[in-house]
């Protein structure tokens, strides 16, 4: 599918999606409460079949957090980036770990480093840091006088 066709297909699935012009992939921004339904459709629709999630991450924009999902279809070869804005004080979004199995560990990593809570995640614990660690290190306002060396 070309970029325009993809954009039309996604608008058809979810009219509330907005698109960003720039970037090498098609960037679609979806409200966080609608994210899971859209993702499920992207994965299941035969002519979209986004079965490969090659990146899942989060960006701290100081005013809000943005979840970024990079999806690709191994059958059709098209890619799309889905973004979802989260409230910084209480970031919550539905898990995708039952749609793409790879998301289970990746979401745990995002929880560990950004503090995003994934609703219905089967096993949401810290992954890289110890269980008793305080704070979310990848956030921009994180301070740690012992472990962090400011350059």
């Amino acid at each position: 599918m070309t970029r325009e066709e993809l954009q039309a297909a996604i608008t058809n699935l979810e009219p509330q999606v907005t698109f960003e012009e720039a970037g090498e992939f098609l960037n679609a921004v979806v409200p966080s409460e609608l994210c899971r339904d859209l993702m499920q459709a992207l994965h299941n629709m035969p002519d979209l079949s986004m079965d490969y999630m090659f990146c899942l991450t989060c960006v701290d924009w100081k005013t809000h957090l943005t979840m970024v999902y990079h999806l690709e279809s191994t059958a059709h070869g098209h890619q799309v980036v889905i973004k979802s804005q989260l409230n910084r004080e209480n970031p919550e979004i539905e898990t995708l770990s039952d749609i793409w199995r790879t998301a289970e560990l990746l979401e745990r990593e995002v929880f560990d480093l950004f503090g995003v809570r994934f609703i219905h995640h089967p096993d949401l614990r810290r992954l890289l840091l110890t269980d008793e660690w305080e704070g979310w290190p990848m956030r921009k306002d994180y301070e740690d006088p012992i472990n962090m060396i400011k350059l």
């Binding site: 720039a22 970037g23 090498e24 992939f25 960037n27 079965d51 490969y52 999630m53 090659f54 990146c55 991450t57 960006v59 701290d60 970024v68 990079h70 191994t74 070869g77 793409w100 199995r101 790879t102 289970e104 560990l105 990746l106 990593e109 992954l127 890289l128 840091l129 110890t130 269980d131 290190p137 990848m138 962090m148 400011k150 350059l151």
Partner: protein, 371 residues
């Protein structure tokens, strides 16, 4: 984090493998639930070598951050650097000279050979054969010597920079590489004789750690792990970078999906790498080895994603730039992390002795997973 050896209510035994265990090739810690000798669950505990490279990169300039990526997947250091250099070049639209492109691809493929050699020796040792380890290191040493002459380092190369490579090739480079290829091509049949054809080894590999094509995609597997299940995912073929589009090589694909399939894919990849090096070694164009770039690099505002094929699979580099001197956010999509997430699926129902073989064929490098 370490758990006591415990018995659950159903009589299952919970044991720790690692973080200090020879077969995990690093500080990986697995908590395994066993029923007798059968694995019921494998739970990886990560972070023993977590350095938060992504956070560090946020305060390093676009020239500096590349060096920290050599410390991620240290067996594919060149390819990690290559990916980062490509990401910066994409943002600044730098035209890389032809000579630099050829040098980069040569270095990438030599790295891939060295990495697969180490994997081959270590896998054989994991399943109980000591000798192949020394054979593999004997040949790998020659590649390290070649690297040392040109890059000045044997492991953390830091050779590729935005716009090209840091130094020109050593005058002996072509001769040394050709000598190495002649030698290694005579040794590769020896590898097959020693290990591939060994019936004990085959029995340890076949029908062990199976993963289907659909599951491999769902778990985000890439590289030889996914290609052994029949997923065509070689980034060098799908999204060619530098001069890969002009080269003749085939993507190694198996459909078995077990340890044996992953073994065969990597053995075939070694042959393909040899073929790529042979195509290029006599055709290194003259010219600059690095493009002229500004002293201070500033990426325009926006997002950049590059994908390269390391020895373990797909490395993705996601840079979010705000137009400043340093990246606003960097995410490394490391191949080992996703491949490791499939370990539980592969090991379920297998015997505990097979876990070592499965981990061996996944070719895990822990600093790449923890970052």
């Amino acid at each position: 984090m370490l758990q006591e050896v415990a018995k659950t209510d159903t009589g299952d035994l919970v044991i720790n493998v690692g973080p200090q265990h020879p077969s995990t090739h690093g500080v990986l810690h697995l908590v395994i639930t066993l029923n007798g000798e059968t694995i019921k669950k494998v739970e990886p505990h990560l972070g023993y070598i977590h350095r938060s490279i992504e956070k560090m990169c946020e305060s390093l300039s676009y020239r500096q951050f590349i060096y920290s990526t050599s410390r991620m997947d240290y067996l594919s250091a060149h390819i990690n650097n290559h990916g980062c250099a490509l990401a910066v070049e994409k943002g600044l639209q730098i035209e890389v000279p032809q000579r630099a492109q050829v040098i980069r691809v040569l270095m990438d493929e030599l790295t891939r050979l060295a990495s697969h050699q180490l994997w081959w020796g270590a896998l054989a040792m994991d399943v109980g054969a000591i000798t192949p380890f020394f054979h593999a290191f004997r040949e790998r040493e020659l590649i390290n010597d070649i690297m040392e002459e040109t890059c000045g380092a044997r492991l953390t190369m830091n050779y590729m920079v935005p716009g090209g490579v840091m130094f020109d090739l050593h005058p002996d480079f072509q001769k040394k590489v050709k000598d190495f290829l002649t030698l290694f091509k005579s040794k590769l049949p020896e590898y097959d004789e020693l290990v591939t054809g060994n019936i004990i080894f085959q029995n340890r590999m076949k029908n062990v750690g199976y993963i289907s094509k659909e599951d491999a995609i769902s778990y985000g597997c890439s590289g030889p792990t996914a290609r052994a299940s029949g997923v065509s995912c070689d980034i060098r073929k799908k999204y060619p970078y530098d001069i890969y589009a002009q080269l003749q090589f085939s993507e190694a694909i198996e459909t078995a999906g077990d340890c044996w399939g992953r073994y065969l894919v990597r053995m075939e990849e070694m042959r393909q790498s040899i073929s790529i090096i042979e195509q290029l070694i006599d055709n290194i164009p003259e010219g600059d080895f690095v493009a002229k770039t500004k002293a201070v690099l500033k990426l325009p505002k926006g997002e950049f994603f590059t994908r390269v094929e390391t020895a373990r699979g797909e490395l993705g580099i996601y840079i979010v730039s705000e137009g400043g001197l340093t990246p606003y956010r960097i995410k490394f999509r490391s191949p080992g992390f996703s491949n490791l997430s499939a370990l539980d699926h592969m090991a379920k129902g297998q015997k505990i002795g097979d876990l070592v073989a499965i981990m061996g064929t996944l070719d895990l490098v822990i600093p790449d997973i923890d970052r």
